[in-house]
Each structure stands twice: as structure tokens, then as C-alpha cells.
Symmetry: C2
Subunit: 371 residues, 2 copies
């Protein structure tokens, strides 16, 4: 694998390998924690009577997607046509591109191919995009959901515009199935409950708008990892991504505990001064996400009270708390990224571990599939 | 190329291609601006009587490295053993790994191979690392520079410890050639001059420490893109990286102008509301670097007064200033990342353009080479 170092290539899968034999940094995924996270979310959605359509932008992995589907997911959510192409090529063909897809140029041809290969669902948030999409697809069977803004203020239309976009989509030959939103303001600490309420009110109002206009409806798709534990009122489908791995943001939001963190970068202490150490992973491994409400640039799985006080491309500076022995040169520390989706998208592969043993290595198959 | 969309694969290099035929997002590099940036820095260092050893972590490209060497660079700087391996395999063999390399485990074997293949220079900032390195290299000819902290407070030793580390390196069979530092506090607006002064004072003091202890000396290596224009007192070698492309941080620090920005993400407007548009590149294309002193999550090459007010993985939210027509659905905008090293490390290739024509596509050969 390009860029992963030759240690990976030398491995024979038949011989159990100790993770200590791999050069750092690498992203290690605890298989037992991962399996438990996947199963728990599937049970939660099943008990709540809603469909689970995990967002694969988090993991970009065929193997992990198959685990989610095996646990009961009805299909996958993806962010780009490029991601959809990669999962479709692996035989995973129930796909929702939860994005206001612009079908101009070459992307129109790619969407027609995908519509041939998949049960394809797309997002739309404007009459303009609906018309371009309808024109590109030339009558092929594609479902769309109208995206609404429920308070995150990114893409998505206001309730007043839902019916017009839905009608434009139907007039363009697309099959409208309902509405979707992303309650991204759930990442604002202390506002998770508000985001859940905004999401429910928005989706139900949008659904009524489609009903009044006699546009296709029925799917109310929302959700995020932080809101998943707060009930599913107003939803028929949940699209969480991060829950499979969790990350430092989820730890600090309180939506997961330390035993539910499945992914961390294994790093080596390369420099020390006083109570500070520097490890050999930085923003090119962990990502640079650092919202103003977190306590640092990630968390250290081995030392929960440590603080990541600085990140540069290949240096993570960690403050070790008083009373904790300062790690020695060459020691390994496992750093949990703030935003796991960003970290995974920087890696060519995930090292799957059980305890100290390397069980498998999974390619990040859709890494960089941004088009 | 995996993840880049099939539009790239369909290209025949013999036929000039218009960049409008490529699906967005992609990283476009203006070849004329790039050539001019590379030439200007080479002239500046030559006139200042110092060596130029560009940091290849910025571009990770064999083609671009060759342009830098052709313009007069004495060799390359890299950040990791993995990057060094990739450039060495391409025949670029004068390499300085400007990092406190920890030579434990498999990395020791990889360093021996590199030392066979290259004129290899390494960083060291502790007696422990010097001993492990010397032991791993088993007497092979490798040069080291002692890293000092000149005020950025990342890795690097204080002046008081320089001689001890240098002596330990020599005792371990390594050839000490001098000292290096990174004046990273030059990225603190208004403190560039201070960083340059700290760097000079630190390197000269460290050099004297080596001289007094009769340890090998002579190389004083420093520098960064923000400090390159402020003179080279106290330096024998400069290691700038970003200058080849420049980025939004350099624009806002005032170290480059708009006509010196060589790289931007070409994006498409996919959603609009009022004076805001959303384009189809986010932090998975641009990186998430957003220091507190910049005006946004990047800058827009086509609309200098626009502001990037939010970045998520596949959405960049842009405020269009009063009086400027709001771009239409499907329009293309070129977004300059805050930190170009992060953006390049997310891409599989760079699209090399002159005007609207695609002249070439260069693999980001050392992308993800973090070990």
C-alpha cells in the first residue's frame, strides 16, 4: 500500500502479527468495540421502529459497510457520487447520496450509470438542481428527498420552499419520496435536545407541505450520532456515521464513553520536555478539526486526563497530568482524533486489532472520493 | 486514479483538455504561477548566499521536486522516512528528514536502506534518540543536525542541551553537521520579525555550543515561507515549503499577493440562499486548518472580498459581499485553502493548468506517507 511503509507489505495474513511490529503512526480499530457499536445502534433503531442507513463517509470501508448491513441497516448513506460508485462496485447497491447533487457535465453520465446499477436516492434543495438532475437522468428511475434546513444553516430549503422543490423534481421526472435534514447543531454542547426538537418539527412540517401539494412523501430522514440516543420522534430513518468508531468530540459531548471508542492513532513518543511529550502523528493523521468547545486537539486513550495542546502536521504535543508518569521515548500512545471521519479519510488503510493482535487490514476504499 | 472520478481516466494527454470538463472538486495548480514562485525563491536564496532545501511535505510531488532542484535547490527536506523513501525511489537522493526520527523497530531497517540509497541527513533532539539511531544504523554514514527550539515550543532542545545531544550523536557513530530549527511562531501575525530574530540568535548560540564542545558543526538550517523575505542572517540553509503554492494563510499574513497563489480547489455552487452560496468542496478537500487569526476557512480566488464562513466535510459556505453578483447554481469558484500542505495531502493528484487548459496531472506521490 502506497505510503503505509513496507512493514505492512511484509505481513503474511496466515501468521498472527503483533501490532507493536508496525511502524507508527497508523489507525488501529478495535474489532470488538466496533462490532458492539454497530450492533447497539442497529438494536436502538430497530427498537425505535425506524430504518438505519449509516453514513459511510465516516469509514469509507467495504468491510465495515457489510458489517452494518449484516446488523440490519437498510442501505448506506454517502456524501458524493464518487463514494456511491465505489460501494456500488462492491455490490452494495441501496445508496442515498445525502447531498444537493449538481448533475452538470460528466457527473450526469456517472449518475445514469449509478441509476442503472443501484437503488439510488439523491438529495435536492433547489428547483434548479432538480431540473438539471431530471435532464441528466433522462427519465431513469431515481428517487429524491428534498433537503430542509432545520437549524444547522448549511444546505437545505426553508419549509416555505419544500413544495416548490418537490413539484419541480416531479415535473423533471424524478420520484419524490420525502424529506431529509441534518441536525448539525447537535454538535453545539448543551443543545442536543433543541436540535432533536428542531429536526422533528422541521421534518413533520416539510412532510405536511408535500402532502398538501400531493407530492410523493413518506420518508422523514434525519439524525446524527449525538442525537441518536434521544429518541426518534418524527423520523422514519436515521443516518448516523461516527457511531461506528466514536471520537474525541463524542467523548466530550458525552454521547459515548471511553470503552465505546473503537479507533485511535497508534503513535510513538519522539520528543519530551518536562511534563510534555510529542508523538509522531499530527494533523496529517488525525485531521485538524478543533472546534472551540473541545478541550484539545484530540484525546489520549491511554491517559484520559492528558490534554492535546498543539497539533502540527507530524507533531502532536501532549500535556501529561501531574501524578501520571511521563511516557518515555519510544513509548506508544493511542490518540483519539477529534473528528474520526477526517482521520479515516487521511489513511490508506485501517489496522483491525483484537487486543495486541492484528486481525486484518481494511482499505479505506472510498478515501478521497470527493467528486 | 482511485477516488478521482472517471473523468480523469478518460483523458488522452495528446488532446488539450479544458478544465471545465473535469468534475469538481479538484486541486488546480497554475503552472506559470508555480514556476515563478519556484524561481523567485531560488533567486532570493542564491542572492543571499544560502542553500535552498525546499520542504517537500507541501507538495509530495516528484515533478514539482524536480522543478525545485532544476531551479537550484541543493536537495529536499522531508518530514518522514516514508516521504524520503518515495523521493529516493524516484532518484532524488539528497534528503534531510527534518524531524526527531525515532529509529526503533522496522524503521531502523528502513533507515539503513535509505542510508544506502541516499545522501541522508536526519534530525535529532535527545540523547536517547541519538543512541537508538546510532544503534539502528550500525556505523553507516549518516549526518545529523541537532534540532533546537527557538521559540515555537514544539520539538527541539534548549541551547543548554545542544552540546550533550551532539556529543551523544557522535558517540553513537553519527556525523554531526550542525543545527536546525523551525521558527513556527512566524505564523503569529505581527511577530515575523521577532521569529526571525529568535531563529538567528538560537542557531548562532547553538552553533557556538557545538564549537566549544568540538562537535561537528557548520550547517545552520532554518526558515519558513513567512520569514523568507526578511533576510538570512545566521542561516546557511533555508527550508520553506508553502512558497511553491502559497495559500490563504500566506495571503492574510501578507507574505504573498493574489497573483502569487498557485493552487486552489475548483468547486461548483450547489446550494444558495440570499448572499450565501455553498460549494462542493469542504474540509475533505481543503483541510480543516482554521487558526484564530484568519478571516475564514479559506479565500476565494475569484472574489477576494468573499468570506468562507463555514466548512464541513463536503460543504464550504461562502458569504458574497454586497455589490458583488451572487454566483449562480453550477458556477465554478476557486477556493484557496488556509493551509496548502493539508489540502495537497488529501488529494490523489494535482491538475496542472495554464489558463483554462489542463497541461498535466501529477500524482501526489507521497500522499499519506506518514510513517
Amino acid at each position: 500500500v502506497r505510503g503505509s511503509g513496507q512493514a505492512f507489505e511484509a505481513t503474511d495474513k496466515a501468521i498472527p502479527m503483533h501490532s507493536a511490529s508496525l511502524d507508527t503512526p497508523f489507525l488501529a480499530v478495535d474489532l470488538d468495540v466496533l462490532s458492539s457499536n454497530i450492533e447497539s445502534m442497529a438494536v436502538l433503531c430497530s427498537a425505535g421502529g425506524i430504518s438505519l442507513r449509516p453514513h459511510a463517509k465516516t469509514h469509507k470501508s467495504i468491510e465495515l459497510a457489510r458489517m452494518q448491513l449484516h446488523a440490519g441497516a437498510t442501505g448506506l448513506t454517502v456524501a458524493t457520487v464518487g463514494e456511491a460508485e465505489i460501494f456500488a462496485a462492491a455490490g452494495i447497491t441501496d445508496l442515498f447520496i445525502a447531498y444537493p447533487v449538481w448533475a452538470g457535465g460528466e457527473r450526469g453520465r456517472r449518475l445514469r450509470q449509478l441509476a442503472d446499477d443501484c437503488n439510488l436516492r439523491l438529495g435536492v434543495d433547489s428547483t434548479e438542481a432538480a431540473e438539471v438532475l431530471g435532464s441528466a437522468l433522462r427519465g431513469q428511475a431515481v428517487e429524491v428527498l428534498v433537503e430542509i434546513d432545520c437549524g444547522h444553516h448549511r444546505s437545505g430549503v426553508s419549509i416555505a420552499d419544500v413544495a416548490a422543490v418537490g413539484r419541480a423534481a416531479e415535473a423533471s421526472g424524478l420520484t419524490v419520496r420525502g424529506v431529509f435534514t441534518f441536525p448539525g447543531h447537535s454538535y453545539n454542547p448543551g443543545h442536543r435536545g433543541e436540535a432533536v426538537s428542531d429536526e422533528r418539527i422541521g421534518l413533520e412540517a416539510a412532510d405536511r407541505e408535500l402532502a398538501v401539494s400531493q407530492v410523493g412523501r413518506g420518508v422523514l430522514s434525519g439524525g446524527s450520532t449525538p442525537t441518536a440516543g434521544l429518541g426518534f420522534d418524527g423520523l422514519t430513518e436515521l443516518r448516523p456515521g461516527v457511531y461506528a468508531f466514536n471520537d474525541a468530540q463524542q467523548l466530550e459531548l458525552g454521547t459515548c464513553g471511553w470503552t465505546e471508542v473503537a479507533l485511535a492513532a497508534t503513535t510513538t513518543v519522539v520528543s519530551r520536555r518536562g511534563h510534555r511529550v510529542i508523538v509522531d502523528a499530527g494533523s496529517k493523521v488525525l485531521g485538524a478539526d478543533w472546534p472551540n468547545w473541545v478541550t484539545g486537539g484530540g484525546r489520549v486513550l491511554d491517559i484520559p486526563d492528558a490534554r492535546v495542546v498543539a497539533l502540527s502536521e507530524h507533531h502532536t504535543t501532549v500535556d501529561i497530568p501531574d501524578g501520571t508518569p511521563v511516557p518515555k521515548y519510544g513509548d506508544r500512545l493511542r490518540v483519539v482524533p477529534n473528528h474520526v471521519c477526517a482521520a479515516v479519510n487521511l489513511a490508506d488503510e485501517l489496522v483491525i486489532v483484537q487486543g495486541e493482535l492484528v486481525k486484518d487490514r481494511w482499505p479505506v476504499a472510498a478515501r478521497g472520493a470527493n467528486t
